[in-house]
Structures are given as C-alpha cells and as structure tokens.
Symmetry: C2
Subunit: 247 residues, 2 copies
C-alpha cells in the first residue's frame, strides 16, 4: 500500500476485522461517500441491510473506492449482517433512556478491551430516521458522536468518517488488554438474551404495557456484557433449568 | 444553544476566533457541506476566496446551516481573507519538501500555544488542485490529515469536518500556555518576510533558478515563527538597516 506523508503505517485496531453496516440507507450517493470514507481510512468490509444492489449514484461518489462497493454484501435483515460479528457498536444521534451511551472517545478502548480477533460491526441507520430501537437492541454498545447543536445532525457519510477516523487515527495498541475474553458470536449472545426474555415473560415480569421498555433494557444490559461462550452456556443452562422447573 | 446528549458544553479552543477559509472552491454543493460541518462542530465564520456569491447548490446541501452561508464573506484574494488573522493553518494532501508539516494531532496544541484571542484562519484549497505553493506560503503552519492510502484524498467537506472535529472535540484547555505571546497581524508577518526576501535578493542569494524554492523555504520558516509585533519590529529594523548600508 502506498503511504503518503501523514499516513499511518501502524494499524492499532486491526482494521480488517471491522465491518461497516448501513441499515436501510435511503440515498445511494451517501453509500458511495461511505465507501470513500472507508477507503480513506483503510477499512474494507461494507454490509448493507435492506437494499439488493447499488445504482450509479453510489459509483459516482465513491471516487477510487469502487472496489469497496463491488465487494459490498447485501442482507435482507440486520441479523444476517451481524451474524459473523462478536461485537456490534451502533451510532445514534439521539439519547435513549434505556441504553447506556458510550462516550465517543471510548469506542476505541471498548474495542481494544477484547481480543484482537474479535470481529466488530459498526452500525449506522437510515439518514432520516436513524436506527430503530429494535436495531439498537442488536448492538453491544451504543455511541453518540459529539456535536455542537441539536440540528443538523451529522450526515451519514460524516458519521461514518468520524467513527472510522477515530479508530484509524488511534495511537499504538497498548498491548493485549489485561482483559476480557473473546465474546461469543453475536447471534448466540442474542439467543441468550432471548432465553432470558422468554423466562421473564413466563414469570409475568413482561406484559403488554412494559414489553418494549423491558426488552430494550435487557437487550441493552446483555449488549454491554458482551457474553463469552462460557457466560452464554452458563446463563442458558440456568434459565433453561428455571423454565423446566416452572413447567 | 441546545445541547443534545453527546454535545460538549466546554469550548476548549474558543471556536469564535476561528475562520474557515476556502480558496477557489470548485463546487458550490461542497461549500454547503462545509457549512453543515461547521454548524455540527460549532464554528461560524466562513470566508471564500475567488467566488462572489453562492448558488442554490450550496443552500441545498447546507441543511440547517444556511445562516453560516448567509454570513459568508467573499474575497478576491487570499491576502484579504487572512488580513484579520494572526495565525493561519493550511491543509494539504501532498507533502512538500519546503514546508515542515505539522502532525495532525498537534494542530490543536499549535493553536493553544498562543493567547486565547489569537484569531486563527483554517485554509483549505480547491477540491482538485489543493493549495498552490503561493497559498501555502501564506500559512504559519501546514498540516496533513492522516489517510490510509494515496488515493482518493479526503474530499473538501471531509477535510474540513475532520479538522473542525479535532478542534471541537479537544479536551479542556490545559490553561494559559507557559507560552507564546500574541502573533502580529498576519499581513505584518508577511510584510516582514517580504523585507527579508528582498534583502536576500539584493544580496544575490535569490536568483532566477532558486527563487521559488528559497521563497517557499523562507515563507515556511517565517510561518512557523509566528512573529510577534516585537519580533517584527526587530527584524524589519535589522534588515532595513542592512539594506541601507548596502545602498
């Protein structure tokens, strides 16, 4: 790779393990601009939820990043797009009471806390509507990019650029974190949360009036735990047993 | 001002003293995107060199930042746009042998080294051609935004966004720097470099073959010195005296 003046040869975060996931982008030109931001900062894997292909608008704005568009993968739903991830970080412009929002500068540390091979999805929502609560539930961490005023929010490509640049421009990895073990595959983490939610429902803790709120809270908590395979086996066993007793 | 979640109430760098200066932008939509990036990060003063007005393309992309466009000022040349500045930082995608390039993370420190009232111009060139050597000569510091590969470079609005975000997102001011005094007004700094260049020319150091190179070197050195009024009076006196002796 050519390294012009100002380029970083170090790759502190391991850029190849990141996937940029765009959920239901409304404007193909924005997808091209996202590809250009990825190329600028050295990220490669682009996943798009809710589209089946890209039009010329995307290619027009991608300037020298057509290769990233050419290899982009399309998924009918978010679960498919995150299936190979072990950690999902979702960008949101609005605070939600039910999710603990990670301060922006800490997203890099949040990733580096886990083993280097942890596959990470960076999730961004539709330009106009952002991510739904259900989509935020699919993330381990939610983060907000600081801004000076409420309106306008960063446009999609800007949000992706600032996020990727923060990861790209991070100093050298401080070394293997004292740290946390490899999280389980994301779908297995989600299944485990599902087991717990069903248990809560069976026990009468979840009902029509609080379903959305409790579900978000539990998903948010499970996200931050970034369950390992061992955690997951433990929790699944405990809650399955509970369910058996009850039946 | 509304402060949504993730907004910074602190203003570590004093954003009102900054001007974003676009030299000969080719695309009005990009100017609108620059205004939006300024609004997102809380900067207000936009100066444009080489245009006399903006068209609907700029207003279309400015989304909620029309106020910044409405107050933008237009200058026929760069000297006019930087006349009220005391420190000018110029973004370049290409390294130049004759300019010492400031590492990107240090631009914030470079500004904070000077008194809080130092008026700062942030200079960005044409989308396709960047800044000319002459324009770089008008800067105190030249900086390059790190990128992963040579092509594509950041587009204009992205370069502005990353620069402003670095300034906006900077932690609290460590307090008055042990510090450097207020630089002289930029035109006076430039005049002083001009006196020295004429002296060098009179002494035979500058001639046809090396003019461009020596001029850039001297301008680059003077830029980094960020001359104060006292420095300037001293140097002007010394070199004027020298010239008198010679004549």
């Amino acid at each position: 790779m050519d390294l012009p003046h100002g380029a970083r040869s170090a790759d502190a975060v391991g850029r190849n393990r990141f996937s940029v996931i765009l959920s239901h982008p409304g404007n193909h030109e924005n997808v091209g601009l996202v590809a250009r931001a990825m190329k600028n900062t050295g990220f490669r894997d682009l996943r798009i939820v809710g589209l089946e292909s890209l039009d010329d608008g995307a290619r027009r704005t991608a300037v020298h990043a057509e290769g990233i568009l050419g290899k982009a993968r399309f998924f009918p739903d978010l679960a498919g797009a995150t299936a190979s991830c072990r950690l999902v970080l979702a960008a949101t412009a609005r605070a939600r009471n039910t999710f603990t929002v990670l301060p922006f500068p800490e997203i890099v540390e949040a990733v580096l806390r886990f083993p280097r091979k942890t596959r990470v999805g960076l999730l961004f929502g539709n330009e106009r509507t952002g991510l739904t609560s259900e989509e935020l539930c699919a993330a381990n961490y939610v983060f907000t990019i600081p801004q000076a005023c409420r309106q306008p929010s960063y446009n999609l490509a800007s949000a992706v650029l600032l996020t990727l640049f923060a990861l790209f421009n991070h100093g050298p990895d401080p070394g293997p974190a004292a740290g946390r073990p490899l999280p389980a595959a994301k779908p297995l983490q989600d299944d485990c949360a599902g087991v717990v939610l069903r248990k809560l429902e069976a026990a009468g803790f979840i009902h029509g009036a609080n379903r959305a709120h409790v579900t978000e809270m539990v998903r948010g908590l499970f996200g931050r735990m970034a369950l390992t395979e061992k955690d997951r086996r433990f929790l699944t066993a405990v809650f399955s047993q509970g369910t058996k007793k009850e039946t």
